[in-house]
Symmetry: C2
Subunit: 319 residues, 2 copies
């Protein structure tokens, strides 16, 4: 099977069909028609074997996750996903692998009506780069800058589950099978909070998705906004499963673990009622974990008000 | 130096400033404002060490070339470049390398007023993925489909120089130093034919850029258009340097070598005068090399009208 046949069979046959795609896969470039008055929101993210995932990760999960992390970035801006591009580097053509990869990727693409419109495949060590584009009305994109002292700090869902699953996979902590089964999808198939991000457009004063870790990502918001952040450690939402292991694994996976792809955002105090409405509209919980303050940096305290210092604050690919 | 510092120092400081960039590097995604009535033209291409370039290629050339091959795809659609994204995978942070890489990339970005607005850096074996976006008025994108029997087949510049330089670099043919010096930039710093592509908008019936090789790329046009192509081998434009080595290296590097990034296009016979005007407007030559015919496939003949069969027809990364 050649590169062209691979593209034809697995990628050109992608399942989503949008009216705003003038020309999809198969020419020198895609041609897209953004609606009048809309701004484009564009992001790109790579996943490299051995850096972002272990060799035993199932291809179906890789396909899903590669798209999910990009949709998560769009969600953090409040954008509605529209189109995406895939650059796939493969050691060899393995049709079983590619088929499973596409199954994972396209299941998510279908869910959010986002169409694969281009990309390319190359030979090399396994890596996946996706570039996703979304749409938003002028002036409505939620930035990292915008948080003000007094704004509440909120997070969707629960944190630390992905990090705990990874720790188990790397053999650094042994979880009971039933617990790993619960946490594994949180690592391999994170749910991008696209609907929640869109709903936060006129509510949140700033937003980011939790990819590097809560404290690191909150640090990005604080720095971009020119303010500080105060987090109450025990208000950070944990899953039931994480909580059962809390005494052995501690808070740090939830505070600094990364890979959760929940939305972290700030909102002024008067937004409380809107947030309450959001909470009932979507299945996912929203927890207040602290407050933006004047100054800079991110401070963590426990419920007694004592400072808490996590062992690590986030992820740097070159560290 | 961390990933964040690297991005800040070398990429966020990029030199182009466009009014239609609402939000560039530094948030979860870029926000871009395409002008009303314009369609987006989007392409992406990867360069992997050991596949698309040899380890001794200078970083400045890599930076230039990675952007050039993407702008070349936009040129083949007739689009005006606007913004680009960079995904860079590096074995380690080497500031000297990154600085030279950026110098090459941004020299071209400046030339075509295309702004770096996002991307990411990761640790891994060296690979470069760029995604470039351009703008075009509705209905004006030049597609691969559109060639008709009787249309002339044209190519800009000369073909085979990049392949000959590569052959020398790989030690398969030894060129005199002076000749290699002339051909080397054709491999490392190909000129994307952006202005020529834009000028061809209402002239060309189809277009593609020569990346896989003349015959392979002409095959794409023929197939997409549902017609055949007849090429007169001796009309394929060669540089003076290539021509001096023609008796040893033959025609095949020009016919199938790839990496030339010239524009290959078709135009109806009545477009002759417009093409003449183009020829004088831009420094680069335009040569007619054959004619589209009914049927399918690409046939090559020599000046005597005898069929000519090249040893290879193009490039497949997995072959």
């Amino acid at each position: 099977m050649t590169e062209f046949e691979l593209i034809q069979k697995y990628f050109a046959a992608q399942p989503v069909s949008r009216d705003d795609v003038v020309l999809g896969i198969g020419d020198d470039a895609a041609v897209l028609a953004p609606p009048a008055g809309k701004h484009l929101v564009v992001t790109t993210d790579s996943m490299i074997e051995g850096v972002h995932f272990t060799p035993e990760t199932e291809p179906e999960s890789l396909g899903y996750r590669a798209l999910a992390v990009n949709l998560s970035d769009l969600a953090a801006m409040g954008a509605e996903p529209a189109w995406f591009f895939l650059n796939l580097t493969l050691p060899k053509i393995d049709e079983t692998w590619v088929e499973a990869f596409c199954r994972g990727m396209f299941s998510l693409a279908r869910e959010f009506n986002v169409q694969l419109v281009g990309g390319n495949t190359t030979r090399g060590s396994l890596s996946i780069t996706i570039e996703a584009q979304g749409l938003i009305s002028e002036g409505e994109a939620i930035r990292r800058a915008g948080a003000k002292p007094g704004d509440g700090i909120y997070v969707t869902g629960t944190l630390g589950d992905a990090a705990l699953a990874l720790r188990h996979r790397l053999g650094r902590h042994s979880l009971p099978v039933a617990d790993y089964d619960v946490l594994k999808p949180r690592l391999d198939r994170p749910t991008p909070r696209v609907r929640e991000g869109m709903a936060l457009r006129r509510i949140a004063s700033s937003a980011i998705d939790v990819s590097d870790g809560l404290l690191a990502d909150l640090g990005h918001i604080a720095e971009a906004s020119g303010v500080g952040a105060l987090v109450v450690r025990d208000h950070v939402p944990l899953s039931e499963t994480y909580r059962r292991h809390l005494h052995e694994v501690g808070w740090d996976h939830a505070l600094s673990g990364g890979d959760d792809y929940e939305l972290l955002f700030t909102a002024p105090a008067h937004a409380g009622r809107d947030l309450q409405r959001l909470l009932t509209r979507f299945g996912v919980g929203i927890s207040q974990i602290g407050e933006m303050v004047s100054g800079d940096g991110v401070t963590v305290i426990d419920t007694a008000g004592n400072p808490y210092r996590p062992a690590t604050r986030g992820h740097d690919h070159f560290a």
